[in-house]
């Protein structure tokens, strides 16, 4: 199983930065996410989480998105549901959502994710 490392470019600000690391068990998505064909972008990340959870006991998921469109929220929900299943099977899961306190709508969004996926999300204010 390999790491996934995707960097951003000023020409394509609608793709987030991604760093899924097998050794540390830490997954991070950062920046903005509003690309076309969202599911095509997220499918390899969803597959990675499935495979990782099949052979590991612990995962940390850090979300540092400033903006995500509603298609992205659907893909994130799919990932959080996978993490919930992993947790139910005994896996240790930590989900951290870093948010900008000047964005008043993000906290409601995270609460909705918690309710929909049934998983605890730690809200962390960005410095």
């Amino acid at each position: 199983m390999e790491n996934i490392v995707l960097t951003t470019s000023p020409e394509t600000p609608y793709f987030p930065e991604v760093n899924f690391d097998v050794q540390s068990g830490t997954c991070e998505i950062k920046g903005e996410s509003y690309m076309e064909e969202t599911y095509k972008f997220y499918l390899p990340l969803i597959t990675w989480i499935k495979e990782y959870c099949d052979s590991n006991n612990e995962i940390v998921f850090n979300i540092k998105l400033i903006y995500l469109n509603t298609s992205t929220t659907k893909c994130l929900l799919d990932m959080l549901e996978l993490l919930k299943k992993f947790e139910e099977k005994g896996g240790k899961v930590q989900v951290n959502w870093y948010y900008d306190k000047s964005d008043p709508d993000m906290v409601d969004e995270v609460e909705d994710f918690e309710a929909e996926a049934g998983i605890k999300i730690n809200l962390i204010e960005k410095e």
């Binding site: 509003y34 076309e36 599911y39 469109n69 509603t70 929220t73 659907k74 893909c75």
Partner: protein, 167 residues
């Protein structure tokens, strides 16, 4: 208060273009930071609806379908007004009208519940979450204006306008 136009466009809704327009919105030279954030989010959602669902479209390399439509952003001292217009099938115009009526008749917490249900039950993949309109109203906290302009017995132009308060 009269409105002045700050952005107007008609053509294919390529992501590269949406992104540049979005950056311009974020960089508008005014002091309404929160309103601009909301305008940006609503702009992306509704523009991508045109890109994904307009019945008038370009095919790129015979693979990718890019919807064609119109957008307009206007402002006065109190509000931004953002509109999109695109071609839809007659039957879809009726579905959209019913959806707009439902959204406009719902309180914030009902919309939040509707959004959660819709996202959970959405098929995902190419269909996305199908909650862009709900999100636009939840963000703006204003009702949407909509208009179904019949072209012929098969198609209509559907216009959606969202008002974003500056303060």
């Amino acid at each position: 208060m009269p409105y002045k136009t700050i952005l107007s466009y008609k053509g294919p809704f390529y992501i590269e273009l949406i992104s540049v327009f979005g950056t311009n919105i974020r960089n508008l030279n005014d002091s309404f930071v929160n309103a601009r954030k909301k305008l940006f989010k609503i702009f992306i959602e509704l523009s991508q609806n045109v890109s994904n669902y307009s019945e008038d479209y370009h095919m790129v390399n015979n693979i990718q379908r890019i919807g064609i439509g119109e957008l307009c952003i206007r402002e006065n001292s109190e509000h931004y007004l953002f509109s999109t217009k695109n071609q839809v099938k007659t039957n879809d115009a009726k579905i959209l009208t019913d959806r707009c009526k439902l959204i406009n008749s719902s309180e914030y917490n009902q919309l939040r519940k509707l959004k959660r249900e819709q996202r959970l039950n959405s098929l995902g993949e190419k269909f996305g979450a199908r909650i862009g309109l709900i999100q636009a109203v939840m963000l703006s906290k204003n009702k949407i204006d909509y208009e179904d302009e019949v072209i012929d017995d098969k198609f209509s132009y559907f216009t959606i306008t969202v008002k974003i308060d500056k303060i």
